[in-house]
Subunit: 364 residues, 2 copies
Amino acid sequence: MIGKTFAKRRHALQQRLRHQDIHSLVVTHSPDWYYLTGFTGESGALVISAAGSRNAVLLTDGRFVAHAAGETSGVKIVQQAGGLFPALGKLLEALPGRKLGFDSGQLTVAQRDDVVKAAGPRKSWKAVPGLVAALRMHKDPAELAAMRRAALLADEVMSAAARMLKPGIRELEVAAEIEYQMKTRGASGPAFETIVAFGARAALPHARPTAKRLRKNELVVLDLGAILAHYCSDMTRTYFVGRASSRVRGWYRAVLEAQAAAIAAVSNGASCGAIDAAARDVLQKHRLDRYFIHSTGHGLGLEVHEDPRLARGQTKLLEPGNVVTIEPGVYFPGVGGIRIEDDVAVHENRSEVLTRVSRDFTEI
Amino acid sequence: MIGKTFAKRRHALQQRLRHQDIHSLVVTHSPDWYYLTGFTGESGALVISAAGSRNAVLLTDGRFVAHAAGETSGVKIVQQAGGLFPALGKLLEALPGRKLGFDSGQLTVAQRDDVVKAAGPRKSWKAVPGLVAALRMHKDPAELAAMRRAALLADEVMSAAARMLKPGIRELEVAAEIEYQMKTRGASGPAFETIVAFGARAALPHARPTAKRLRKNELVVLDLGAILAHYCSDMTRTYFVGRASSRVRGWYRAVLEAQAAAIAAVSNGASCGAIDAAARDVLQKHRLDRYFIHSTGHGLGLEVHEDPRLARGQTKLLEPGNVVTIEPGVYFPGVGGIRIEDDVAVHENRSEVLTRVSRDFTEI
């Protein structure tokens, strides 16, 4: 991403700050500050002011000052003295603007107290949750290109992982190989702890890999995602090792049908709740809805879970540039589970499925 | 860890709650709730009440209810309806105790507002930061045993990684192999993004691995840690590929001397600031203190950064059961850097270095 892209995003945020009547916004969530400046350090705070073109000050400690100087452009870098939040308050005290905004969904109560105290009594504070998250929901063409590459990498790794599924292999071995394959293909790492669940363990939607060995006639859930050039992918496939019963095949067909219905519902202007309902209705028709114990999907981007949320009753409407997962599943305690997950981008007049590994029922 | 261990920790927390005049404490940080219950799910909230032996209620969503039931003992599991923090408030509203505590260092402003609102006007709230963190600072024998194993695993992986250092290899390849080695040795994953920095990139204390290839006559900084059975290790070694100049050897000797001084200063009753000063004084003697741009170390346990912090001016005194990193370093922009890091446990009358790979200057 080039400096101009970050400057453009800061400019878009400035307009929102003026709309909210805020002179300066405190940005303390690292994906947010990366989005606005390109800074990849692990500690710091960014201040974006509503006025002017020299509108960004990044405060960080000695470990990250050299990073920050090399990674950003048009951003004033300040090395903090003492704790981050007291130092941030002092920096704000010296800025001209009186009306300050903070993200109440990111700052802890203690951080807010520290920065408010240090900024002094001449400042007024307003909670403005999710201003940067709202911008981040709309991926620009460069971001969509990055997400296509991250999805393609997940496709490659999923295909490689499926080839490893032989009776006797351990969940942990498959997980280690998946994450190794990601890294050797250029990922900075997994977007989340890879899920490899065999047999009855597949009934846990978020199973951690164990030393369990794969046996014949077990379901296998693989849920993996990579971070490539800062952007995340997230996909799930379910395989069967051996010959499946007609009951298992029926479950799989129902989940696949639910997923197809939800993917078909993804479009510019559709409500997030309607997409969740599309998947849930299909599973209800098959009398499986009570085994679908989570929501249908979530936004994806610099973080693996971001806005929007595709859950019951969500009224938010999808817009171009949104990227969401569609991941219905059914879980039978003691028996196993099935989930199928893909990443879908919303465009003006169409949607685009980014992950492409076959969803056909596969017996290995 | 067995159920009795968790019950004992909850009992210790109950005493602190009574001391603080709090009827129930809200625990929302996942390492804290793991420490108190054994629950490894990714979403939830725990309520610990000061009175009674049935003192723990764990609220979580449908994805993690089966986990929670299997992982905990003596804990009431409640499946949340709707958002976590409103549901938590409703749960608290129905509990008898009126005086509620929350960790202001963990709850965001929005979460606090949500839970306070839902709990209703009959409750009073008190910010009590770090109550569980304070317990977690004192590792019990089972925790120390787990940390020794995590440290040993880091030793093994560091030795394997050093053998990979041949001119032509890329930083990313070494990082991928390190994390693969961790997983195949039983780690659930790296405790942080592995740092592999060659040549001038070693001047960045937190360099992310890149496609850069190793060349002759470069410094190599490897900073790695594994999570094994929930506990973290964290260690750094610096190697030289080729024959080092006397200047580089002098830097290395100074850092090693500083680290030895700080390790020697680690003892029951020593102040955290004094340990930082021990390292800094040695580097000052060598006129290198201005290249030491971070603090000397940090606590280590279920998280890779926890209390206590070994930094300038910290007055906290070390106590038995504390485990800290000792990691002085020097960084020369454009040239390279040297850091040596080990994990040290504090006992009643001695300290114990958990990580054991040779610290001798090594040319490869």
